[in-house]
């Protein structure tokens, strides 16, 4: 079990600068996600921690010991990839105990551990099958068992479910969650799926352009994003421009008193679920429908409210038409001020 520290990692490839000073501290037993758009550097960060890539500068510390100083057999950061990469010429059983065989663990111990792991992934009857005979989900589970067999300090997952069917993904997420809970292992997962990051992780690190923009619990990163970039990534945003003077926020949509001493121009972030459609009389703003999309569970609407474009959604089964006027109530209390 290890507590992982990555300190000021920089990485460039020729002219491209992929990591611009990434520092992150993962506590022992924590499950964190690295999330961001393609090319933000999340996979590179993971591979540096795994030891697959060397950073141009920076350090990787496992329990405060420099990773490159640790002997080969200790402190492994094992990476499991979306490409699974099982050894095609070995059976499920031999794939799983590969790491143990390399370490010359005794035959009895190998047998014992392999049986336990096979049970954990529920593939005991398939132990003599070859990877070519397994389904995608089964292969993924074997890959995880193979990683777990050597009891790594940290388990690194690189978009592990992206190649699986949607229905399979839920089962796999449950499975990983259980593995995490039962074995209390430190996990760092790279994903581009924010729902997945929120569901699985204790903390989420949002990366952009080779830097970590915010590293916080899912709730905080959603409710209290520290920038528009972060806010935009995790959900639909309505940005309302305005000013604050005397603790009053004034915008084209009206005024609202805020608990804020600072004064000047500011943008207030209001999530679409913080704007509700209400009956006449209960509103604090109105809008004219400029777009309406039906999406099953919900419908998405775009409103023009006194020149401000707002995006909202509703679960009510009402067909709105363009140019309808709608009464809305904006929950300013939940708004986030971004300077």
């Amino acid at each position: 079990m290890a507590d992982i520290k990555l300190i000021s990692a920089y990485k460039r490839y020729d002219t491209e600068s992929v990591l611009n000073g990434v520092s992150i501290h993962v506590n022992n037993g924590e499950y964190i996600s690295l999330i961001g758009a393609s090319g933000c550097g999340k996979t590179t960060t993971l591979k540096i921690i795994a030891g697959l890539i060397k950073a141009c500068s920076g350090q990787v510390l496992f329990n405060n010991v420099n990773a490159s100083k640790l002997s080969e057999n200790k402190s492994r950061a094992v990476i499991v990839d979306q490409n699974v990469l099982l050894f095609p010429h070995m059976t499920v059983e031999r794939n799983i105990n590969f790491g143990l065989r390399i370490r010359r663990v005794s035959k009895e111990k190998i047998k014992e551990k392999t049986e336990k792991l096979l049970e954990m992934i529920q593939l005991s009857e398939h132990k003599n099958k070859f990877p070519s005979e397994l389904s995608g989900g089964q292969m993924q589970r074997v890959a995880i068992a193979r990683a777990m067999a050597i009891e790594p300090e940290v388990l690194l997952l690189d978009e592990p479910f992206s190649k699986l069917d949607v229905s399979l993904r839920e089962d796999m997420r449950k499975f990983i969650k259980e593995v995490h809970e039962n074995h209390k292992i430190t996990i760092i997962m790279v994903t581009h799926d924010k729902e997945e990051a929120f569901l699985m992780s204790d903390r989420v690190a949002f990366m952009d352009n080779g830097k970590i923009e915010q590293y916080d619990t899912p709730e905080n990163i959603y409710k209290r994003p520290n920038s528009m970039k972060v806010a935009r990534f995790f959900g639909h945003c309505n940005f309302i421009e305005g000013t604050i003077e005397n603790s009053v926020f004034t915008s084209k949509l009206g005024t609202y008193s805020v608990d804020e001493k600072k004064e000047g121009k500011v943008t207030m972030l209001i999530r679409s679920e913080q704007i509700k459609i209400v009956r006449e009389g209960e509103q604090n703003a109105t809008g004219i429908v400029t777009d309406y999309r039906y999406a099953g569970e919900k419908s998405y609407l775009k409103l023009d409210s006194n020149g401000v474009t707002l995006g909202i959604h509703t679960t009510e089964d009402i067909k709105y038409r363009l140019r309808d006027t709608i009464h809305i109530k904006i929950d300013y209390k939940k708004g986030v001020l971004l300077w």
């Binding site: 010429h89 590969f98 193979r146 050597i150």
Partner: protein, 286 residues
């Protein structure tokens, strides 16, 4: 109806040619049992098989053939896979290395035999070098490597062609191994050496095996090289078959066919092993 027949129609020409092949084999079998109506032999008998299988010279020839094929194919595989591995590991290898080594593959066996002759005969290039290095004093001291009972010349000729062939197929299959598999093994704690023996080597093994089988089968059934630079005793099986076939004594014909059938049977057994190896290849590489 046409839809169903279509693939069979497309395969018709190739099967016509193949039927000539199969008929050749069947005909050889029939003739080996003594059934050659054109010659007036029409009784089926096992006599010829008994003659051959009891004959000392046949057994010696059989052993000789197996020895030659095994040695030349084995050496080719050893050296070929090792050199291929070296080239594969050294990514910076220049183009000329990767093309030049293939030359012997295009050279026919008869010319390979000529090359062996030029170099290794007692009056050949190597013996002159030995003399000038002071290793021998006269022609006769240079060992007999051609026309010798050990079949050394034959083995060298086959090996000369065999090594590049094995190199070619080994490099071909090494290229196909997903490099990330090696990374995965390293990440799980294996050293570079362990990664080779546990991952890369077993994955190329079936392919190398098919190469061995091809070399073995070819050398076992080939006529040219042993005829040109082989000893007069023991002779390689195809040469024996040929001599008996072209004999004026037509009653020897069935015996020639017995030898042909034996050669073909051994080859067919090799086909079976080949197919098994091929299945493994498909399993590993999809």
């Amino acid at each position: 109806m046409y839809k169903k027949l279509k693939p069979y129609l497309m395969l018709l020409p190739v099967m016509v040619v193949m039927s000539v092949f199969i008929l050749g084999l069947i005909s050889a079998v029939l003739q080996s049992f003594g059934y050659i109506p054109v010659f007036g032999m029409s009784e089926i008998t096992l006599r010829h098989y008994i003659n051959i299988l009891e004959s000392r010279s046949f057994l010696r020839a059989l052993g000789f053939g197996i020895y030659i094929s095994f040695a030349s194919s084995g050496i080719s595989v050893f050296i070929g896979t090792y050199v291929a591995y070296l080239i594969y590991r050294n990514k910076k290898e220049t183009l000329w290395v990767r093309t030049l080594y293939k030359i012997p593959i295009a050279v026919p066996h008869a010319i390979a035999a000529l090359l062996v002759f030029i170099i290794l005969t007692q009056s050949g290039v190597l013996s002159r070098i030995f003399y000038n290095l002071g290793l021998i004093d006269n022609l006769m001291e240079f060992p007999e490597l051609i026309f010798d009972r050990g079949g050394i010349g034959i083995i060298i000729a086959y090996t000369w062609k065999g090594i590049p062939f094995i190199m070619m197929i080994t490099l071909g299959i090494l290229k196909k191994i997903d490099a990330r598999l090696v990374d995965t093994a390293l990440n799980l704690g294996a050293s570079k050496k362990e990664a080779w023996w546990q991952v890369e080597f077993p994955m190329i093994l079936p392919t190398v095996l098919t190469g061995f089988i091809l070399l073995f089968a070819f050398s076992f059934g080939a006529f040219e090289v042993p005829f040109l630079i082989g000893p007069s005793a023991p002779r390689a099986l195809p040469v024996v078959a040929y001599i008996q076939y072209t004999s004026i004594d037509l009653s020897l014909r069935p015996q020639a066919m017995v030898i042909n059938v034996i050669i073909s049977t051994i080859s067919l057994m090799l086909v079976y092993v080949y197919i098994l190896a091929f299945r493994s290849i498909k399993k590993y590489f999809g």
